[in-house]
C-alpha cells in the first residue's frame, strides 16, 4: 500500500479502531430549530455534521414550482468553507453539489407521499458544517429526520450508508481517509425491507465485488434506521409528556 496509514490491519481493525461492519458514532437530534423552520434535525456521523431545515409544505412562491398533482421538493446544500481540514470555498453552482442536490431531491420525491399535497412546495436546506466522509449519507439521513419533524407523511424512513471495498474486504461507513483510498458506494434504503432508493458508485469496482458491498451497506442502512427510529420515538414521547402535541 502506498499510503503510510494502515487502513485495515491484519487483526481486522480499521484506523479509527472499528471492525469492518461497525458504523461510526451516530448522534442525532430533531426539532432543533423550532422557530426558523417547520422541521429540523442535526446529524453527526463520526466527525461529519449536518444541519437540516425543512420549510413546508407551503404554497409555492413561484408559479413555475406549482405541480398540479403532487408536492414539489427542492433541496439546497450549503457546504461551509471551514468544514474540511483545509479551508476551501465552494460556489453554489459547483457541479458536484448540484448533482448531490438533485439526487437527494429524486430520492425524497419518491419517499414522500406526494399526492397528499398537490400545488405545494417543500424546501429542504442542508448545511454541512463539518465533513469527514459520508456527506451524502449524512445529508439524506438528516433530511429524513427533518421531514419527519415537519410532519410530512412518508412511506418509511429513508436511510443511507456507504460501503467500500479494500482488496477483498468490505468496510462499512467510511471516513474521509478511507474514502480516498478505496472504491465505495452510497446506498439509501426505504424502510427495513430490501428496498433501494438510491445507489451511487462513482469508481471502478469488479462486478463480483458489488454484491457484498451492497449487502453490507444495506445492513448499515437498517442499523441507522433503528437508531433514527429510537430518537424519533424518544422525542415524540417527550413531546407527549410535555403536552405539546
Amino acid at each position: 500500500m502506498a499510503s503510510r496509514l494502515e487502513i485495515f490491519s491484519p487483526e481486522g481493525l480499521r484506523i479509527d479502531g472499528r471492525r469492518w461492519n461497525e458504523v461510526r458514532h451516530f448522534r442525532c437530534a430533531i426539532n432543533t430549530h423550532p422557530v426558523s423552520s417547520d422541521g429540523s434535525a442535526i446529524i453527526e456521523q463520526g466527525n461529519t455534521k449536518v444541519i437540516c431545515n425543512v420549510i413546508g409544505p407551503v404554497e409555492p412562491t413561484l408559479r413555475s414550482r406549482v405541480v398540479p398533482d403532487r408536492v414539489s421538493i427542492s433541496v439546497k446544500v450549503v457546504i461551509a468553507p471551514f468544514s474540511t481540514i483545509d479551508r476551501r470555498k465552494r460556489s453554489q453552482n459547483d457541479s458536484r453539489m448540484q448533482e448531490m442536490c438533485s439526487s437527494i431531491q429524486h430520492v425524497f420525491e419518491d419517499a414522500v407521499i406526494a399526492h397528499l399535497f398537490p400545488r405545494s412546495q417543500i424546501d429542504v436546506n442542508l448545511y454541512v458544517v463539518a465533513q469527514d466522509g459520508g456527506v451524502m449519507q449524512a445529508c439524506i439521513n438528516a433530511t429524513t429526520l427533518a421531514l419527519i419533524d415537519a410532519g410530512v407523511p412518508m412511506y418509511d424512513y429513508v436511510c443511507a450508508c456507504t460501503a467500500g471495498m479494500l482488496d477483498r474486504e468490505v468496510l462499512l461507513d467510511l471516513n474521509r481517509i478511507e474514502e480516498s483510498d478505496m472504491p465505495f458506494l452510497t446506498m439509501a434504503t426505504i424502510g427495513s425491507k430490501r428496498k433501494v432508493a438510491l445507489l451511487q458508485l462513482e469508481m471502478k469496482v469488479q462486478f463480483d465485488r458489488l454484491e457484498p458491498m451492497m449487502a453490507a451497506s444495506m445492513s448499515g442502512c437498517h442499523h441507522i434506521r433503528d437508531l433514527m427510529d429510537n430518537e424519533v420515538r424518544k422525542h415524540g414521547k417527550s413531546r407527549l409528556e410535555r403536552g405539546s402535541l
Partner: protein
Amino acid sequence: MPLSLTEESYLNVSLSQRPPCRPDGRNHLQFRPIDAAAGILPTTNGSARIRLDDGGECIVGVKAEVIAVSRGSEVISVEVDCDIVGLPANSPLQNLLCATLETAIKNSLPLRLLRITNKYRYKIFVDGIILDHVSHPLTLFSMTTYLALLDTRLPRLAPDSAGRDNDDKDDIGIPQFSSDWDDADRLCQNWSPPLVQLGIIVGKNVFVDATGEEAEVSDGGLLTVWHDGRVVGLRVVKTRDSSKQVFSVSSISNAVEVLANASRDIEKALKGIITY
C-alpha cells in the same frame, strides 16, 4: 409582509415618543434573549454559534493557515466571508457584512499575534453562514465572529524546533508545531476583537437589536465599531429603501453614545461565555 400605511405610522409614532414604546415592551438598550455556544466545531481553530429569539442563526468558523511572507511586508492577512442563505453571492448585504468586519479586524489586530517566525505568518479566515435572519444580520454576524475569535487558538511551535533566541528562529525552515492542542495559545489573550453594533434611529431615539418591523419604520441605521473600550469607527447604513442618509451631528453623537453603552454590555456578556 410589508406594513400598511396605518401600521407604519402607528409604529413610527410609538417609537419616536419620549420615552419610546417598543412593540415587544423592551427598553431601547435591551436585547432579545440569545442562545450562544462556542467551540462547537472540531475542524476549526475557533467556532461559535448564536441563535436569536426570532429564529435568526449564524455559525462562524475561524481557520488559520500558515503563509510565507516576504521580508518587511506588514500586511495583516485576514479574510472575512459569509454565506447568507436565501440571498445570491455578492449581494449588497453580504458585501456590507464582510467588508465591515474585515476592515474592523484588520485595523485592530496587531501583527505580532500572527507572527510564527520571521518567514512565516498566520493568515486568518473567518467564514460565517447565516442560516436564517429576520432582522438585520449585521449585529448577529458580528457577535458570532467576536465569540469565534475569542475561542480561536493557534498552535505553538514545537519546543525543539524553536531556537533559544529570536535570531535563531530565522534559520529554521518550515515551522514545526507542537502536536498538543491543549498547549495552543489563545489569539485573544492580549487582544480583544472588534464588535460591530447596528442601531436604528427613529426621530430622537436610538434602538439596538431592532426587529424587522422596527427597522422598516426607522429613519436610518448607524453602525459603530467598538474596540478596546471605545468606538473606533462608524457608518450610516440604509435600513430600508427610502431611509435617510443625512443626520444631524447631535443625533449621530447621541446614537454613538447609546451604541457604545450597548457594546460594553454585550462584550461583557460574550466574554462570560468563554472560560479560560
